[in-house]
Symmetry: C2
Subunit: 327 residues, 2 copies
């Protein structure tokens, strides 16, 4: 007998086996999955964002388990909510997939979603399944702003602010480079960490509300690469972000991965990953000078007046600058 597929278990069978994986709903979920819509008992402003992962383009089934894709879907969406200074509370997930997709992949996906939602203090409250010729997973995350604080936008940075980063940048790109080269988690601890960071990122969600509480003036998630997302923050704020290359110097693990891959200058390659690699979902924030940085953040630069843009050590960066779709 073959393995169960979406075609053999059917829509209702799949949904039933997925819903048990999400466990009981927290108190703020008045109505969870199973009706036309979910009902959330949110008291104030609601923060909401959506993001999609597409097979081949955003993940490969020979590299990623269903669990990994679930973690990554949840992480991408919940990180965007945290990047507004909000506390993630809920996730909806739409799965489009071919009928011959192993049902186990969809069940593992649900486990990954539930696992990463639990890390973030959120829960899966709804979803949808459809037939498609490739696997496409779309998440929508909701969050709340605690303490009546406003959302922290990209546009509030002012000259004199400190630029700070929670989380690290580079490991996801290093992990992708390893996988593309046919290497993997068996190539040592540094490789294993990088590959995990690429397949199933675990963003520092708590840093988002902590930044808001500490008075952050601007906040963004580094999903498309530190330089590209710093550039968006700089453009929205009408200011220069001058990043400190010493503070962003890649760790020994990242350099070790570059060496493993035969880079002529492993430190330079690792710095490229740290500056331009996407999908790490670190949080980049600006704070008024003198702010005691909240736990998890370290200073990585300063905001200056000038034509909006990003500098590295006072100079333009001439290497690659991040991930673009379609181009």
């Amino acid at each position: 007998v073959g393995e169960d597929t979406l075609g053999t278990v059917g829509e209702d069978g799949l949904i039933a086996s997925v819903l048990v994986r999400y466990g009981p709903s927290p108190a703020l979920v008045r109505v969870g999955p199973g009706d036309d819509a979910a009902v959330l008992d949110l008291a104030g402003p609601v923060v909401v964002s959506t993001d999609t992962l597409v097979e081949t383009h955003d993940f490969r089934r020979d590299w990623s388990s269903g669990f990994d894709v679930g973690v990554k879907t949840a992480a991408q969406n919940l990180a965007d909510v945290a990047a507004m200074g909000a506390r993630p509370v809920a996730l909806l997930v739409s799965l489009a997939a071919p009928a011959d997709l192993p049902a186990r992949f969809a069940r593992d996906l649900a486990d990954g979603l539930a696992d990463e939602c639990a890390r973030a203090g959120a829960s899966v409250v709804g979803g949808d399944v459809s037939a498609a010729s490739e696997v496409v997973v779309t998440g929508t995350a909701l969050g709340v702003l605690d303490g009546g604080r406003p959302a922290v936008l990209r546009s509030g940075a002012r000259p004199g602010d400190v630029v700070a980063l929670a989380g690290v940048t580079g490991p996801s790109a290093a992990g992708l480079a390893l996988l593309l080269a046919g290497r993997g988690p068996d190539d040592g601890d540094a490789a294993a960490v990088a590959v995990r960071a690429h397949l199933a990122p675990r963003p520092p969600y708590e840093a988002g509300p902590a930044a808001a509480a500490a008075g952050a003036t601007a906040l963004i998630d580094t999903s498309d690469g530190l330089l590209r997302d710093a550039g968006r923050l700089a453009a929205a704020s009408g200011a220069v972000l001058d990043l400190d290359p010493a503070a962003l110097a890649p760790g020994a693990d990242l350099v070790a991965v570059a060496a493993l891959l035969g880079a002529a200058d492993p430190a330079a390659r690792a710095l490229e990953w740290a500056l331009a690699g996407g999908e790490d979902h670190a949080l980049l924030a600006c704070f008024p000078a003198g702010t005691a940085l909240p736990a998890g953040f370290r200073a990585v630069g300063a905001v200056r007046a000038g034509d909006p843009g990003v500098l590295v050590g006072g100079r333009p960066w001439t290497g690659p600058t991040g991930w673009h779709h379609f181009t």
Copy 2:
């Protein structure tokens, strides 16, 4: 020179040309598209649902314009929110598409989304674009429950209640049958109406909050066909829904389409569409006996005690029962 495609205009160019189509955000949208997430100023419980349309499976680009797909994406999602008794307020949309998709399709999609959101009193507050090998559009709709009323679930119907319907069922299935037969809007008014109903449904959103205000005990959207969705309501409520075939008798237009397609018994074919055809997004509600039905609703049956299920004129229905994915 060829037509613009997603590949030639790029992600940022596409987003810029789409955002202008959504117009200014209403007051409750504190932060609209362009930051990591949107912020909505919602005062109470939030109703949220997600749904996906996939090229080939859910629409064909030779039948549907981008505008049509935009209307249908908005309609499917906003109708689910209305089917909880909520007033739709916001929509997020994720577009996954190949790089050679004409950029005009994506811009028309935005126009269709904006048009149907305006009909519903909602607005597009966020989205995402990704590369994929086929067009996949996922919407997520949010709504609010006015007047402190609870959401109207599927599970509240009680023996003695009146079953009522807002909107019509059948036209979407008739339109699909026409298109599959190579017929279309040029085959007369009845055909044109049915094809429009299939390609760009326009659900009666206002009937959702009106049903809640009138004391509806249960409410569902007929997205998968009247009998299948009535069966879900019956199962959730632990009751029998006995539908009145006279009240559900298809209109002359639907019979005319069946005749046009050469059905041996056009009235019987039209009744099949009305009972089993999906994607009309009519709203099926139950009300305590004696309730003055709100505008737009007409009585189509009664709730009885017994083994949960659906009867038509007191007897089981033996024809097709609605749309299933994967099977």
